[in-house]
């Protein structure tokens, strides 16, 4: 019997981003999934040839509009390490605040899309409604809603006034209250569980072997969160990585759900601990040498490898994004899933293709 071959993407209503999977299905069960990338490949690492290392901050921010802030922070961290720049602690914590805001908006965005993936439109709406509060915070504090461009080499460009801090805290309280309402639906609702539990199961061993990272890995019980290493301001805050053990879509959803609460908490801690002082230092000269930096994105571990030889332009900029690492686990999860659950499973790794392909 001929299988049903489904061209899933690049243009597909459940995929916000273009990726293609040729799905071979039988009675709607996926038997084989072959990916095709490149619909969004720009060749961004190569831009290091023509953009100087300052300008690259704006470029790496646009690797992805969802996790832009952390890209810039990580890149800045790399250059600062190369140039031995000591970033002031206030700047560190400000970076943390904006990074965590990004994590919150990214996870809320994901939770909404996830809800949409299993056909729960009203839940999507509600989630995005809460997300708008976070977007307002970003717009008000950084001057733009999505790509906030606050990071520069040597620190940050914008400061938070005490009033702004207070306002942020009140918005967070507000958002958290509404958010916890949603938690009941995402975690306890019968029909949601029916669609997410047991879907796309990834055992701990498999996840580790395939290099899963971030919530995808933590959903499978890999207790790894790069923030534990205490880069940037994280050393000053306390938190535990969020881990779930089931390894299915539900577990990944739960991890992300809980991480939002964790981020709320981290932002509060950071605001409370915000020291007085400079927010950036002057940068002179050009970077030289090579360095590897890592950080925790909403989707997992981000790695920058930078090599420079004392010129304005870097020799090499290499970005390894979390989704890139999570694609092999995804391919391993797909066979055996029902077609109707393909969006659920695909979304459960929170794929970000523009990060993946750069």
């Amino acid at each position: 019997m001929a299988p049903t071959v489904i061209p899933f993407g690049p243009q597909h209503p459940v995929l916000p981003e273009p990726i293609h999977l040729t799905l071979t299905t039988k009675d709607e069960i996926v038997t084989e999934a072959v990916p095709q990338l490149g619909y969004i490949h720009r060749g961004l690492e190569k831009l290091a040839d023509i953009k100087d290392f300052h300008q690259l901050v704006q470029v790496v921010e646009r690797v992805c509009g969802i996790c832009s802030c952390i890209h810039a922070a990580t890149y800045a961290q790399a250059i600062e390490a190369l140039m031995n720049i000591e970033v002031p602690p206030r700047a560190h914590l400000l970076r943390v605040i904006w990074s965590e805001l990004h994590r919150v908006h990214s996870h809320l965005l994901w939770l909404g899309l996830f809800a949409d993936g299993f056909g729960f439109e009203s839940l999507f709406m509600q989630t995005w409604r809460i997300r708008e509060k976070i977007m307002d915070v970003m717009e008000a504090t950084a001057g733009n809603r999505v790509i906030i461009s606050v990071n520069v080499i040597g620190g940050v460009r914008r400061d938070l006034s005490p009033e702004q801090c207070q306002w942020i805290l009140s918005v967070l309280d507000d958002a958290e209250k509404e958010y916890k309402e949603l938690g009941k639906v995402f975690l306890d609702d019968y029909s949601v569980q029916k669609r997410t539990r047991g879907q796309g199961v990834l055992t701990r061993e498999k996840a580790y072997e395939l290099g899963a990272c971030g919530p995808t890995g933590r959903g499978s019980g890999i207790a790894q969160d790069v923030r534990q290493t205490g880069y940037s301001g994280y050393a000053m805050l306390d938190f535990e990585p969020v881990v779930e053990n089931d390894g299915d879509s539900y577990a990944r959803c739960k991890v992300r759900y809980r991480e939002v609460l964790q981020s709320f908490d981290l932002i509060r801690q950071a605001i409370n601990k915000l020291p007085e002082g400079e927010i950036n230092v002057k940068v002179k000269g050009n970077p030289e040498g090579e360095v590897i930096t890592r950080s925790e994105q909403p989707r997992g571990e981000l790695l920058y490898y930078v090599r420079a030889s004392g010129k304005k332009h870097l020799d090499r900029l290499r970005i390894r994004t979390p989704t890139f690492a999570n694609i092999p686990p995804l391919l391993a999860m797909l066979p055996g899933t029902e077609l109707a659950n393909v969006p659920v499973v695909v979304l459960s790794i929170d794929p970000c293709i523009s990060c993946t392909e750069r």
């Binding site: 490949h41 190569k46 390490a81 880069y231 590897i292 390894r320 686990p329």
Partner: protein, 126 residues
């Protein structure tokens, strides 16, 4: 997290070393390829509970490079990307897109990270 220690490794010892790391429970994070002269330098990044190992291996671009996707399946995507970007070829690659992971033949872009140099064009021309 800043990490600077990179150890250099003979390319002949690559497979042994990678296998050893795998047995010790390391995870492959990624590979960072850089063109150095007519050699391709690949840095293999491994990690185990934030303990990192970075191996620097220099390889000849013109002969097929050794793939480690047999040991770490997840390397296949990275190696495919390197094939696209550097116009090299990996042998024993478990799923090869033949240098067309990102780029199609018709685009006429071959090994952009080696042969090509991009130019900054005048504002708004493009």
């Amino acid at each position: 997290m800043i990490d600077r220690n990179i150890t250099t490794l003979e390319d002949s010892r690559l497979l042994d070393e990678v296998t050893r790391l795998k047995n010790e429970g390391y995870r492959l994070v990624t590979m960072s390829p850089v063109e150095v002269g007519d050699k391709l330098e690949i840095i293999y990044h491994f990690d185990k509970d934030f303990k990192t190992v970075n191996l620097r291996v220099q390889m000849d671009k013109n002969t097929p490079l050794q793939s480690i996707s047999g040991i770490y399946f997840c390397a296949f995507l990275i190696e495919n990307e390197i094939q696209d970007h550097f116009g090299v070829e990996f042998k024993d690659l478990v799923l090869s897109f033949g240098g067309h992971l990102y780029l199609d033949e018709e685009a006429g872009i071959r090994a952009p990270y080696c042969s090509m140099s991009i130019k900054q064009e005048d504002g708004g021309k493009k």
